[in-house]
């Protein structure tokens, strides 16, 4: 049989529970703008009933803390998407910088356009045919040659500079990754000791927030281990953090660029394809820029070599037969040709316009120079076609990356929406809960008051005034 005493203690328990629930609502509202926060709902639990004389008597309710509304699969999926998206947007930024050196020129007179430079250079030889001994026309050949060489080598120099700055950014990112893995290892340990069997609430929030930060930086895999622990590896499978231990990524220079190691293994290539900012930076550094640079090198190498050969196969104004010397500095190998591209000939009279052994008024060699423009001597293409190919290849890469990036951000957005719709704080909802718990608290206190007066009546045995 129930007692008034029991009812009183039951209802004061309900007041405690309501207070706990109100506490949780306050915490939710306080963290409403915190993107890393996962909202909690009060964990209401009916108290164990009492079994007395064959009857079950309810014994109220209590709130055992809040339950974080989290879907770890969804979180992980979101983090993976963040890795892809960060890689592609970092790559896109690098490519956008890269393509500025190759902007399409609107007219034929655009300065600094390598395509126009190539055409102007070979055209200057066609003009020389009209008067092979003319000094102004010879000066023009040297001037267009200098423009071509200058523009190509400045492109190459800025590509190299971009590569260096990407290299530095990659180093910075790796330093951030290393500090995050250390802190993740510590949180891991705390979670394992404090909450081995259930969601660790705020601690888990912190872990997820750091995983999100890490996902911006580098491609990772997560493996759940015993006691709610987490192992983190690179997408290539190199362990970065496990239980309470972090394994830092070390750096070392290989072939002029920074390579990255974990425990002696070179993981640079797998990091490049792994994702995160680091993936984008390394893809740009090790693939996009070297591809363009190699094309420019090939162009500079072929043009310099062919033009020099032709100049040494004719007769110039100062009486050289087949030994007029080089117009461009002679490259010894393809790599690096673009940056070293420059005009070494200073005396315009040493341009061999006449055919070998012929009089200085002849233009047979100038014809040979001009014909180079339509000869496929750069990797099987004419110089102009080769440059045009370079432009379309690079342009296609930029365009693909842009499209890919748009698609990735759209799907990232969807996942973020999904995650937020489950886990983030809705003020409307909290307002409703607040009202609900307030009413519930008010009701419980009313019940308490009434029970109190009932108790007083019982103590006074009907005499109203004895105990108030």
């Amino acid at each position: 049989m129930g007692t008034i005493n029991a009812a009183l203690s039951l209802i004061s328990g309900a007041l405690d529970a309501d207070q706990n629930a109100l506490n949780i609502v306050s915490n939710n509202v306080a963290n409403a703008s915190n993107q890393a926060y996962t909202r909690q709902v009060p964990n209401w639990a009916e108290n164990q009933p009492l079994y007395i004389s064959g009857l079950f008597l309810g014994s109220g309710v209590s709130v055992n803390g809040g339950i974080s509304q989290r879907d770890r699969v969804l979180e992980q999926r979101l983090q993976q998407q963040q890795q892809l998206s960060a890689a592609s947007s970092t790559l896109l930024t690098a490519l956008n910088t890269l393509q500025t050196g190759f902007s399409p020129s609107a007219t034929t007179s655009t300065a600094g356009d390598v395509g126009s430079d190539i055409t102007n250079f070979f055209n200057s030889f066609t003009q020389l045919q009209s008067n092979p001994t003319s000094n102004p026309l010879r000066q023009q050949v040297l001037a267009t040659a200098a423009t071509l060489a200058g523009d190509v080598s400045s492109r190459a120099a800025s590509l190299n500079a971009q590569q260096v700055s990407l290299d530095q950014s990659a180093n910075t990112v790796v330093a951030q990754v290393n500090s995050l893995t250390v802190s993740l290892a510590q949180i891991n340990q705390k979670i394992q000791s404090l909450s081995p069997n259930s969601d660790a609430g705020p601690l888990e929030d912190q872990r997820q927030s750091e995983l999100t930060q890490l996902s911006q930086l580098i491609g990772i895999n997560q493996i759940t281990t015993e006691k709610n622990g987490l192992s983190i590896t690179t997408t290539g499978g190199q362990l970065l953090a496990s239980q309470g231990q972090a394994f830092s990524i070390t750096t070392g220079a290989v072939g002029g660029v920074t390579h990255f190691f974990v425990g002696g293994t070179d993981i640079t290539t797998q990091l490049a394809s792994g994702g995160g900012q680091l993936g984008g930076l390394l893809t740009a550094r090790d693939q996009s820029i070297p591809t363009v640079l190699a094309s420019l090198d090939q162009l500079a190498y072929s043009v310099a070599t062919q033009v020099n050969t032709v100049n040494n196969a004719g007769t110039d104004l100062v009486g050289d037969n087949g030994n007029s010397g080089d117009i461009f500095n002679a490259p010894t190998q393809v790599a690096g040709s673009a940056q070293a591209f420059q005009v070494v000939l200073t005396n315009p009279d040493k341009i061999a316009a006449a055919g070998l052994g012929l009089g200085t008024g002849n233009d047979a060699n100038a014809v040979a120079f001009a014909n180079l423009a339509s000869q496929a001597f750069v990797n099987g293409q004419t110089p102009s076609d080769y440059y045009s190919n370079l432009v379309s290849t690079l342009g296609a890469t930029v365009s693909q990356t842009t499209i890919q990036n748009t698609a990735l951000s759209a799907s990232l957005n969807q996942l973020q929406n999904q995650r937020n719709s489950l886990s983030s704080v809705s003020l409307n909802e909290e307002a409703a809960s607040l009202q609900e718990f307030q009413r519930s608290y008010q009701a419980a206190s009313q019940v308490f008051g009434i029970l109190n007066s009932v108790f007083a009546s019982a103590l006074n045995l009907g005499v109203v005034t004895s105990v108030a």
Partner: protein, 297 residues
């Protein structure tokens, strides 16, 4: 079903996008170019490189032809004058050969023909911009020199027989000069040699081999006329090639403009659409930003 309470931040992403596209469109309008980076349209960018290459080649060839036409016209007018001088020599020789002239007249004819020969010789040594026109590739050397110590006088060719050419954008090879030995001192029609012979024939007041030499002079005259046609042909071909190049250049410029030029009306329309979208988004965001159930508590 629960929704994402932070959906307003998605709207601000959309606002960023409209701003980005506004920036792109304004950029297109201000530059007048549809493609401002190669990533926007790789195919058009590559075509643009090739079109500009052809346009520049055509323009440059048109310039070159105007430089070259001067040379060819000088050559042509020199040969024209040579023909005139030879005609004069021919009529003098014909006069001398009809037997009516006395010794002193014949000597005078000899002197006159010698004068004409010197004229022809100086025409054969014509130069253009400091370069001798008829000496093949040896354009720094006067092509013909006369030795008066022998009788008949002898002429020596100091040039060579190398021909200069100009290659047009569509691959035509146009001859720019005729070496002097092909016009003035060929074995079949040695123009200056015949004149020298005629001078010698009448120098002593007789007529010598005048009749035979006059016939040779006639042959030589015709030959010079034929050689002149070569130059005239070059002028015609050069003009034709130049006009082809400039026509092609105009057409290619039209193609290039079509390819690269911004379509201003279309862009303006897009821009105004983007603006309305932006305005709408801003009002939506400001309306949504205010208010939650807490306002009613």
């Amino acid at each position: 079903m629960r929704v994402n309470p932070f959906y307003v931040s998605n709207l601000s992403d959309a606002l960023n996008q409209t701003q980005a596209s506004q920036q792109l469109l304004t950029n297109e309008i201000s530059s007048g170019t549809r493609v401002n980076s190669i990533g926007q349209d790789p195919v058009a960018s590559a075509q643009n490189v090739q079109l500009l290459n052809e346009i520049q080649r055509d323009d440059s060839f048109t310039q070159t032809t105007s430089l070259t036409t001067g040379l060819l016209q000088i050559t042509d007018s020199a040969l024209g004058s040579v023909v005139t001088q030879l005609n004069k020599a021919l009529s003098l020789a014909t006069q001398a050969n009809n037997g009516t002239l006395n010794t002193s007249d014949l000597k005078a004819v000899s002197n006159q023909i010698a004068g004409l020969r010197d004229e022809v010789l100086s025409l054969a040594n014509t130069s253009y911009q400091g370069q001798y026109v008829f000496s093949g590739s040896q354009s720094n050397t006067a092509p013909f020199s006369l030795n008066n110590s022998t009788s008949p006088a002898t002429v020596t060719y100091n040039g060579d027989s190398v021909v200069n050419t100009l290659v047009s954008p569509n691959g035509q090879t146009i001859q720019l000069n005729v070496p002097g030995d092909q016009i003035f001192t060929t074995a079949a029609a040695n123009v200056i040699g015949v004149l020298n012979n005629l001078v010698a024939d009448y120098a002593n007041g007789g007529s010598g081999a005048g009749i035979a030499d006059t016939a040779s002079l006639n042959t030589a005259l015709n030959f010079v006329g034929q050689q002149r046609v070569l130059i005239d042909n070059s002028i015609t071909r050069l003009n034709a090639a130049s006009s082809v190049a400039s026509t092609e250049s105009i057409q290619l410029k039209a193609v290039q403009t079509n390819l690269m030029q911004a379509d201003i009306p279309a862009i303006s329309t897009q821009l105004s659409l983007t603006q309305s979208q932006q305005t709408a988004l801003i009002s939506v965001i400001s309306a949504l930003g205010s208010g939650s159930l807490f306002d009613k508590l």
